[in-house]
Amino acid sequence: MTTPQAVLNGERLALARMLTKVENNSEEGRLALMELFPHTGRAHLIGVTGAPGTGKSSLVNQLALHYRKQQNKRVAIVAVDPSSPFTGGAVLGDRVRMRDLSGDPNVFIRSMASRGSLGGLAQSTANVVQVFDAAGFDVVIVETVGAGQSEVDIARLAHTTLVVEAPGLGDDIQAIKAGILEIADILVVNKADRPGVENTEKALKTMLELAHPAERVFKHHGTYMGVAAPKSNLNKAVWIPSIQRTISTEGTGIAELVDAIAKHTAYLRSSGGWALRERTRLEVELEALLREGLMNKFRESTTAEAFEQALEAVIQRKVSPWEAANDLLKGSTA
């Protein structure tokens, strides 16, 4: 009963079970993905990332409510929380903030544990998203684990990436570091009723101005001076992330955020960015599959003893890890 056809027909139990098979990377799941793939490519994938406690889950709840009530779109949510590095267990608590969505047959929420993956998503999150896409959900919202600075996998998966900040989490030096802020298509300052919201917004604005200099006029020693925007060597329009204030517990700023997401979608469609992101996403997937396939091929063609011997030689400093790896690759038929 858990057939790809049942998933395409919108059977919820079949969908739930298929997600498990795909999440576990089972043979059955892989075969199903092959069948489902031609039906993918229609959903708008929205990524939501940010530090723990910035209100990602509550924001996802509000976004989903808005898409349901104002636009009657079918919404799937994939919420990733971390697995324990010691036991492999996990407590997945994102649903606690999403109780408003309960009872709506056009919403489907799935919690995922990261299962050892470090980029903010689980290894099979992209495949889980594909199943939702094939099942006909218009919007798939992916919430990452509470991300620090470099969990940026989501930018390679989503069409539109929201980075959620909250007041009081860091100064303007944090804002110019490489990493998570760079991947934002839209910056969300959540908990905007908290003190310090102006400072947070200012730091983010400064960061954006450094990245995207524009013409500006300012006062210096009493004289007004103008600085022209530097000539961009790109002719096409550049997307400058907007900063949106929200209070997700009250739903404030959500309509504006949804508008900003729609603007970003329109930009992607008109600039060719949509196709580029599709290409990047599928390229990453293809490469990952190749890597996995080559690794499996290598494992089949070499013995555990050969690997142990090489490892032992490295431990005793007889050969370097580079030489050992080369020898193993030469010895195998892969």
């Binding site: 919820r12 139990l13 739930a16 079970r17 997600l19 498990t20 576990n24 990377n25 089972s26 697995s83 324990s84 036991t87 492999g88 267990g89 996990a90 407590v91 997945l92 608590g93 649903r95 606690v96 109780r99 309960s102 009872g103 489907f108 929420i109 799935r110 919690s111 544990a113 299962r115 050892g116 290894q123």
Partner: protein, 132 residues
């Protein structure tokens, strides 16, 4: 990473706000290597069954300290069956009088645990029940 993880929904149906027990259990199951989906307080049986379906769990753990277990547990079981999830094992924890144990077992509740229950026992019972 292809090993099948045990997925457990820990839910608090009904109107009491005492969620310490549920959190202790969630934490203990996590430390036993299970993936625990925690739903939070004041869930209706409908919400619990819906979450159990979406998350494709193996086990539902209900924590009830309000005395309403004889109304809530059967309703959750009924909804799980209606959704095609008869295979899901239901465990119950809380303040459950001894005289209710028989009828709870009869309606298909796999395990019932009161105050002072050992989490090791609960983990063992869950693993046994899921292995079937």
């Amino acid at each position: 990473m292809t090993e099948k993880k045990i997925r457990v929904l820990v839910a608090k149906p009904g109107l009491d706000g005492h969620d310490r027990g549920a959190k202790v259990i969630a934490r203990a199951l996590r430390d036993a290597g299970m993936e625990v989906i925690y739903t939070g307080l004041r869930q209706t049986p409908e919400m619990i069954a819906e979450a159990a379906l979406q998350e494709d769990v193996d086990v539902v753990g209900l924590s009830v300290l309000s005395g309403a277990h004889m109304a809530l547990a059967p309703r959750v079981m009924e909804l799980l069956h209606a959704n095609g999830q008869s295979h899901v094992k239901v465990f119950l924890g809380g303040i459950i009088p001894d005289e209710d144990l028989g009828s709870l077992k009869a309606m298909g509740v796999t395990g019932v645990y009161g105050p002072g229950a050992n989490t090791e026992d609960i983990i063992r019972d869950i693993k046994l029940a899921v292995a079937g």
